[in-house]
Point group: C2
Chain length 149, copies 2
Protein backbone atom coordinates (compact mmCIF):
# COMPACT_ATOMS: atom_id res chain seq x y z
CA UNK A 1 0.00 0.00 0.00
CA UNK A 2 1.95 2.97 -1.31
CA UNK A 3 0.93 6.55 -1.82
CA UNK A 4 3.02 7.25 -4.88
CA UNK A 5 1.77 7.60 -8.45
CA UNK A 6 -1.75 8.57 -7.54
CA UNK A 7 -3.57 11.22 -9.54
CA UNK A 8 -2.57 13.95 -7.10
CA UNK A 9 1.06 12.82 -6.75
CA UNK A 10 3.64 15.49 -6.17
CA UNK A 11 5.26 15.72 -9.61
CA UNK A 12 5.96 18.99 -11.36
CA UNK A 13 4.30 18.04 -14.65
CA UNK A 14 0.91 17.74 -12.91
CA UNK A 15 0.99 21.12 -11.19
CA UNK A 16 -1.49 23.49 -12.83
CA UNK A 17 -0.35 26.32 -10.59
CA UNK A 18 3.24 25.89 -11.65
CA UNK A 19 2.25 26.22 -15.32
CA UNK A 20 0.41 29.39 -14.44
CA UNK A 21 3.40 30.69 -12.49
CA UNK A 22 5.88 29.87 -15.26
CA UNK A 23 3.70 31.39 -17.98
CA UNK A 24 3.33 34.54 -15.90
CA UNK A 25 7.11 34.81 -15.48
CA UNK A 26 7.66 34.21 -19.20
CA UNK A 27 5.10 36.87 -20.01
CA UNK A 28 6.99 39.38 -17.84
CA UNK A 29 10.24 38.56 -19.61
CA UNK A 30 8.57 38.95 -23.02
CA UNK A 31 7.24 42.40 -22.12
CA UNK A 32 10.59 43.65 -20.92
CA UNK A 33 12.26 44.56 -24.25
CA UNK A 34 9.11 46.43 -25.31
CA UNK A 35 8.82 48.31 -22.03
CA UNK A 36 12.50 49.16 -21.88
CA UNK A 37 11.85 51.81 -24.55
CA UNK A 38 9.33 53.47 -22.21
CA UNK A 39 11.59 52.95 -19.17
CA UNK A 40 8.79 51.08 -17.38
CA UNK A 41 8.56 47.74 -15.61
CA UNK A 42 5.55 45.52 -16.27
CA UNK A 43 3.73 46.60 -13.12
CA UNK A 44 4.55 50.25 -13.75
CA UNK A 45 3.04 49.82 -17.25
CA UNK A 46 -0.11 48.32 -15.71
CA UNK A 47 -0.44 51.19 -13.25
CA UNK A 48 0.06 53.73 -16.05
CA UNK A 49 -2.63 51.95 -18.06
CA UNK A 50 -5.09 52.32 -15.19
CA UNK A 51 -4.21 56.01 -14.98
CA UNK A 52 -4.57 56.49 -18.75
CA UNK A 53 -8.10 55.17 -18.35
CA UNK A 54 -9.14 56.93 -15.11
CA UNK A 55 -6.78 59.98 -15.00
CA UNK A 56 -6.94 60.30 -11.21
CA UNK A 57 -7.37 57.75 -8.41
CA UNK A 58 -6.31 57.27 -4.81
CA UNK A 59 -4.02 54.43 -3.68
CA UNK A 60 -6.86 52.26 -2.42
CA UNK A 61 -8.88 52.53 -5.64
CA UNK A 62 -5.75 51.81 -7.67
CA UNK A 63 -4.91 48.85 -5.43
CA UNK A 64 -8.33 47.31 -5.83
CA UNK A 65 -8.03 47.55 -9.62
CA UNK A 66 -4.60 45.93 -9.80
CA UNK A 67 -5.13 43.53 -6.85
CA UNK A 68 -2.17 44.88 -4.89
CA UNK A 69 -1.74 46.79 -1.64
CA UNK A 70 0.22 49.83 -0.49
CA UNK A 71 3.23 47.68 0.40
CA UNK A 72 3.75 47.14 -3.32
CA UNK A 73 2.22 50.35 -4.66
CA UNK A 74 3.76 53.03 -2.44
CA UNK A 75 7.38 52.48 -3.56
CA UNK A 76 6.28 51.95 -7.16
CA UNK A 77 4.31 55.19 -7.19
CA UNK A 78 7.31 57.03 -5.72
CA UNK A 79 9.38 55.75 -8.65
CA UNK A 80 6.77 56.89 -11.18
CA UNK A 81 6.73 60.27 -9.45
CA UNK A 82 10.53 60.35 -9.64
CA UNK A 83 10.28 59.83 -13.40
CA UNK A 84 7.85 62.74 -13.65
CA UNK A 85 4.95 60.63 -14.89
CA UNK A 86 2.56 61.14 -11.95
CA UNK A 87 1.92 63.46 -9.00
CA UNK A 88 1.18 62.12 -5.50
CA UNK A 89 -0.91 64.76 -3.77
CA UNK A 90 -3.15 64.56 -0.70
CA UNK A 91 -6.91 64.89 -0.49
CA UNK A 92 -8.06 68.17 1.13
CA UNK A 93 -11.22 66.47 2.49
CA UNK A 94 -9.34 63.49 4.00
CA UNK A 95 -5.68 63.98 4.76
CA UNK A 96 -5.08 60.22 4.90
CA UNK A 97 -5.79 59.81 1.19
CA UNK A 98 -3.10 60.03 -1.48
CA UNK A 99 -4.41 61.18 -4.83
CA UNK A 100 -2.50 59.98 -7.88
CA UNK A 101 -2.70 62.15 -10.99
CA UNK A 102 -1.07 61.89 -14.40
CA UNK A 103 1.36 64.59 -15.51
CA UNK A 104 1.46 65.72 -19.13
CA UNK A 105 4.55 63.54 -19.61
CA UNK A 106 2.65 60.60 -18.14
CA UNK A 107 -0.29 61.20 -20.45
CA UNK A 108 1.96 61.55 -23.50
CA UNK A 109 3.62 58.22 -22.76
CA UNK A 110 0.40 56.47 -23.79
CA UNK A 111 1.12 57.11 -27.44
CA UNK A 112 4.41 55.21 -27.23
CA UNK A 113 2.60 52.24 -25.67
CA UNK A 114 -0.05 51.85 -28.40
CA UNK A 115 1.73 49.06 -30.27
CA UNK A 116 2.54 46.92 -27.23
CA UNK A 117 -0.66 44.81 -27.05
CA UNK A 118 -0.44 43.83 -30.69
CA UNK A 119 3.26 43.02 -30.44
CA UNK A 120 2.56 40.77 -27.46
CA UNK A 121 -0.30 39.11 -29.34
CA UNK A 122 2.16 38.21 -32.09
CA UNK A 123 4.72 36.93 -29.59
CA UNK A 124 2.13 34.62 -28.03
CA UNK A 125 1.52 32.90 -31.40
CA UNK A 126 -1.96 32.09 -30.14
CA UNK A 127 -5.38 33.05 -31.49
CA UNK A 128 -7.51 35.72 -29.86
CA UNK A 129 -10.07 33.00 -29.09
CA UNK A 130 -7.55 30.82 -27.28
CA UNK A 131 -6.23 33.81 -25.35
CA UNK A 132 -9.71 34.93 -24.34
CA UNK A 133 -10.48 31.46 -23.00
CA UNK A 134 -7.23 31.61 -21.05
CA UNK A 135 -8.20 35.03 -19.71
CA UNK A 136 -11.64 33.83 -18.61
CA UNK A 137 -10.17 30.83 -16.79
CA UNK A 138 -7.64 33.09 -15.01
CA UNK A 139 -10.33 35.59 -14.04
CA UNK A 140 -12.51 32.79 -12.65
CA UNK A 141 -9.62 31.32 -10.67
CA UNK A 142 -8.68 34.74 -9.31
CA UNK A 143 -12.25 35.33 -8.21
CA UNK A 144 -12.57 31.93 -6.57
CA UNK A 145 -9.29 32.26 -4.70
CA UNK A 146 -9.99 35.83 -3.56
CA UNK A 147 -13.48 35.00 -2.28
CA UNK A 148 -12.28 32.07 -0.21
CA UNK A 149 -14.37 30.21 2.35
Amino acid sequence: MTKSNQSSSLTLDKQICFSLYSASNAMGRAYQPLLKKLDLTYLQYIVMMVLWQYSTLNVKELGSKVHLDSGTLTPLLKRLEGKGLIIRSRSKQDERVRIITLTVAGLNLQEEAQQIPNTMLCKSKMSVEELNKLKQACDLLLDNLNNAD
Copy 2:
Protein backbone atom coordinates in the same frame (compact mmCIF):
# COMPACT_ATOMS: atom_id res chain seq x y z
CA MET B 1 -10.12 60.23 -36.09
CA THR B 2 -9.27 59.02 -32.60
CA LYS B 3 -7.30 56.01 -31.48
CA SER B 4 -9.33 55.26 -28.37
CA ASN B 5 -11.78 52.37 -27.94
CA GLN B 6 -10.28 50.18 -30.61
CA SER B 7 -10.08 46.44 -30.06
CA SER B 8 -6.50 46.67 -28.80
CA SER B 9 -7.05 49.77 -26.66
CA LEU B 10 -5.00 50.10 -23.51
CA THR B 11 -7.59 49.22 -20.87
CA LEU B 12 -6.91 46.84 -18.02
CA ASP B 13 -10.00 44.68 -18.58
CA LYS B 14 -8.71 43.62 -22.00
CA GLN B 15 -5.25 42.56 -20.86
CA ILE B 16 -4.90 38.77 -20.98
CA CYS B 17 -1.43 38.96 -19.49
CA PHE B 18 -2.67 40.94 -16.53
CA SER B 19 -5.27 38.26 -15.76
CA LEU B 20 -2.52 35.68 -15.90
CA TYR B 21 -0.31 37.78 -13.66
CA SER B 22 -3.07 38.42 -11.12
CA ALA B 23 -4.14 34.77 -11.03
CA SER B 24 -0.54 33.74 -10.49
CA ASN B 25 -0.19 36.18 -7.58
CA ALA B 26 -3.48 34.99 -6.06
CA MET B 27 -2.32 31.40 -6.41
CA GLY B 28 0.86 32.19 -4.47
CA ARG B 29 -1.18 33.84 -1.71
CA ALA B 30 -3.50 30.84 -1.53
CA TYR B 31 -0.58 28.43 -1.14
CA GLN B 32 1.01 30.40 1.64
CA PRO B 33 -1.08 29.24 4.64
CA LEU B 34 -0.60 25.61 3.56
CA LEU B 35 3.14 25.99 3.06
CA LYS B 36 3.64 27.89 6.30
CA LYS B 37 3.26 24.56 8.15
CA LEU B 38 6.22 23.20 6.17
CA ASP B 39 8.17 26.47 6.52
CA LEU B 40 8.49 26.72 2.72
CA THR B 41 7.77 29.44 0.17
CA TYR B 42 5.99 28.51 -3.05
CA LEU B 43 9.17 28.32 -5.09
CA GLN B 44 10.95 26.36 -2.35
CA TYR B 45 8.03 23.91 -2.43
CA ILE B 46 8.40 23.57 -6.21
CA VAL B 47 12.14 22.91 -5.92
CA MET B 48 11.54 20.33 -3.19
CA MET B 49 8.96 18.66 -5.44
CA VAL B 50 11.53 18.33 -8.22
CA LEU B 51 13.96 16.82 -5.73
CA TRP B 52 11.34 14.41 -4.35
CA GLN B 53 10.98 13.17 -7.90
CA TYR B 54 14.64 13.11 -9.00
CA SER B 55 16.54 12.87 -5.68
CA THR B 56 19.68 14.49 -7.06
CA LEU B 57 20.29 17.14 -9.72
CA ASN B 58 22.73 19.91 -10.50
CA VAL B 59 21.74 23.59 -10.62
CA LYS B 60 21.47 23.69 -14.40
CA GLU B 61 19.20 20.65 -14.60
CA LEU B 62 17.06 22.02 -11.81
CA GLY B 63 16.93 25.41 -13.50
CA SER B 64 15.76 23.97 -16.80
CA LYS B 65 12.96 22.11 -15.02
CA VAL B 66 11.67 25.13 -13.12
CA HIS B 67 12.49 27.71 -15.86
CA LEU B 68 14.73 29.77 -13.60
CA ASP B 69 18.46 30.58 -13.50
CA SER B 70 21.18 30.62 -10.86
CA GLY B 71 20.38 34.22 -9.96
CA THR B 72 17.14 32.98 -8.44
CA LEU B 73 18.17 29.46 -7.50
CA THR B 74 21.52 29.96 -5.76
CA PRO B 75 20.16 32.01 -2.83
CA LEU B 76 17.06 29.80 -2.61
CA LEU B 77 19.17 26.64 -2.46
CA LYS B 78 21.34 28.20 0.25
CA ARG B 79 18.18 28.78 2.29
CA LEU B 80 17.03 25.19 1.81
CA GLU B 81 20.50 24.04 2.86
CA GLY B 82 20.26 26.29 5.91
CA LYS B 83 17.01 24.54 6.84
CA GLY B 84 18.74 21.18 6.56
CA LEU B 85 16.56 19.96 3.69
CA ILE B 86 19.27 19.62 1.02
CA ILE B 87 23.03 19.35 0.61
CA ARG B 88 24.95 21.47 -1.96
CA SER B 89 28.05 19.46 -2.85
CA ARG B 90 30.39 19.72 -5.83
CA SER B 91 30.92 17.26 -8.64
CA LYS B 92 34.26 15.43 -8.44
CA GLN B 93 34.43 15.15 -12.24
CA ASP B 94 33.65 18.82 -12.87
CA GLU B 95 34.36 21.23 -10.05
CA ARG B 96 32.10 23.89 -11.58
CA VAL B 97 28.98 21.78 -11.02
CA ARG B 98 26.93 21.99 -7.82
CA ILE B 99 25.10 18.78 -7.00
CA ILE B 100 21.91 19.17 -5.00
CA THR B 101 20.85 16.19 -2.89
CA LEU B 102 17.98 15.65 -0.48
CA THR B 103 18.71 15.06 3.18
CA VAL B 104 16.59 12.63 5.19
CA ALA B 105 14.73 15.61 6.65
CA GLY B 106 14.11 16.88 3.12
CA LEU B 107 12.81 13.50 2.02
CA ASN B 108 10.56 13.18 5.07
CA LEU B 109 8.97 16.55 4.37
CA GLN B 110 7.22 15.01 1.37
CA GLU B 111 4.75 13.24 3.62
CA GLU B 112 3.59 16.53 5.12
CA ALA B 113 3.01 17.93 1.61
CA GLN B 114 0.76 15.11 0.38
CA GLN B 115 -2.52 16.93 1.04
CA ILE B 116 -1.54 20.22 -0.56
CA PRO B 117 -2.59 19.53 -4.20
CA ASN B 118 -6.04 18.40 -3.16
CA THR B 119 -6.51 21.34 -0.79
CA MET B 120 -5.57 23.72 -3.60
CA LEU B 121 -7.97 21.94 -5.98
CA CYS B 122 -10.78 22.62 -3.49
CA LYS B 123 -9.74 26.26 -3.10
CA SER B 124 -9.87 26.78 -6.87
CA LYS B 125 -13.53 25.70 -6.94
CA MET B 126 -12.91 24.64 -10.55
CA SER B 127 -13.23 21.24 -12.20
CA VAL B 128 -10.21 19.14 -13.10
CA GLU B 129 -11.22 19.54 -16.76
CA GLU B 130 -11.29 23.34 -16.58
CA LEU B 131 -7.96 23.37 -14.76
CA ASN B 132 -6.33 21.04 -17.26
CA LYS B 133 -7.45 23.27 -20.13
CA LEU B 134 -5.95 26.23 -18.27
CA LYS B 135 -2.73 24.28 -17.77
CA GLN B 136 -2.50 23.39 -21.46
CA ALA B 137 -3.02 26.99 -22.52
CA CYS B 138 -0.33 28.17 -20.07
CA ASP B 139 2.11 25.48 -21.25
CA LEU B 140 1.53 26.47 -24.87
CA LEU B 141 2.01 30.16 -24.13
CA LEU B 142 5.18 29.43 -22.15
CA ASP B 143 6.55 27.40 -25.03
CA ASN B 144 5.71 30.04 -27.63
CA LEU B 145 7.24 32.87 -25.61
CA ASN B 146 10.39 30.90 -24.76
CA ASN B 147 11.01 29.86 -28.37
CA ALA B 148 10.74 33.38 -29.71
CA ASP B 149 11.63 34.49 -33.22
